[in-house]
């Protein structure tokens, strides 16, 4: 189980790296599909069928929208022309060394914080149902819903769903505002 998940995750990371380095934006989007659909398989293996259904549909719609945008514009990767002053070789070298130093330092800091954060996590598969135990205990009797995720979503945690609906509404209003070329009465 862990091995299969690790292999899928490694594939997802490779796809992500390729997506960020692709020359053509269309192939970048295809590689983004690797990551999204790999996530679907992970959800299925982790016993979360609700999430798998949502993710597969949402990923498809995202890809449709992004391809529709990319097809009409310059698809090719921008020329990474040096925006650097040509002061000479030594300047380039100090800049390169500085960049590598900053990157390594940032990586170490992030890794240290990950170690700090993951010290409090339980091992994979050993999760104790501390919070959800109260929700699951007789949840079907309390909410009447057989699907416990729906029960949590709409009964115990209704406020979160209301906030989600509000964010979706706000995003739609924002898209309509940003993309309107001419006003309604002109």
């Amino acid at each position: 189980m862990e091995i299969i998940l690790s292999v899928i995750l490694i594939f997802m990371i490779l796809g992500a790296i390729f997506a960020l380095h692709a020359k053509d934006l269309l192939s970048a989007l295809v590689s983004m599909g690797i990551v999204g659909y790999g996530l679907v398989i992970c959800f299925l293996l982790l016993k979360a069928p609700d999430l798998a259904i949502v993710q597969i549909v949402v990923e498809t719609i995202t890809l449709i929208i992004m391809v529709a945008i990319v097809l009409d514009s310059t698809r090719h990767e921008l020329k990474e022309k040096a925006a650097i002053r040509h002061d000479g070789q030594s300047f380039m070298n100090t800049r390169l060394v500085g960049n590598i130093f900053i990157a390594v330092f940032l990586g170490l800091v992030l890794f240290y914080s990950f170690r700090l954060a993951s010290a409090h996590l339980t091992e994979f598969g050993e999760h104790g149902l501390r919070m959800a135990g109260a929700y699951m205990e007789g949840a079907a009797g309390k909410t009447g819903s057989v699907n416990l995720v729906t029960g949590v979503l709409f009964d115990f945690r209704g406020y979160d769903t209301l906030g989600e609906a509000t964010i979706l509404f706000t995003a739609v209003v924002g898209v309509l505002t940003v993309l309107r070329l001419k006003g309604k009465h002109s």
């Binding site: 949502v54 719609i61 909410t143 009447g144 709409f154 009964d155 209704g158 769903t161 995003a171 070329l181």
Partner: protein
Amino acid sequence: MQGMSIIVKKVAQLLSGLIFMYGIYIITHGHLTPGGGFAGGAILAGSLILLVLAFGSDVMRLQKREAGSSIMESAAILGFLLLAVAAIIAGAGIFFYNYLPKGQLFHLVSAGVIPLYNIMVGIEVAAALFTIFLALVIYKEELKQ
């Protein structure tokens, strides 16, 4: 936006109804099987997007549809909020209280208000995604003119 070839049109015509029905099934059985309002709403939006992509449309028609789906979205979120507020009156003053009778487990009509919430969220998500898609298509069409 012009449509695609006759084969694509025919297949889209045959399939989109089935996809729409599948979305409705996912929404209404949200409290019994995997799925629910979010998944079903996205599937409904997918079937509508398929129709627009296959058949194409002129800007005027698209704008009408955009206005319709935008109104639909606002109405759905208002309905969701009203259902939640009705709980204050019907229940003991608790927001999001499940005030309808729970019914029997594993039956389609059960779980009180949860199926109604599911339907409202489903309409909201479907209308929101379809509106976003239509806004992009209209923007591209207007840019071409």
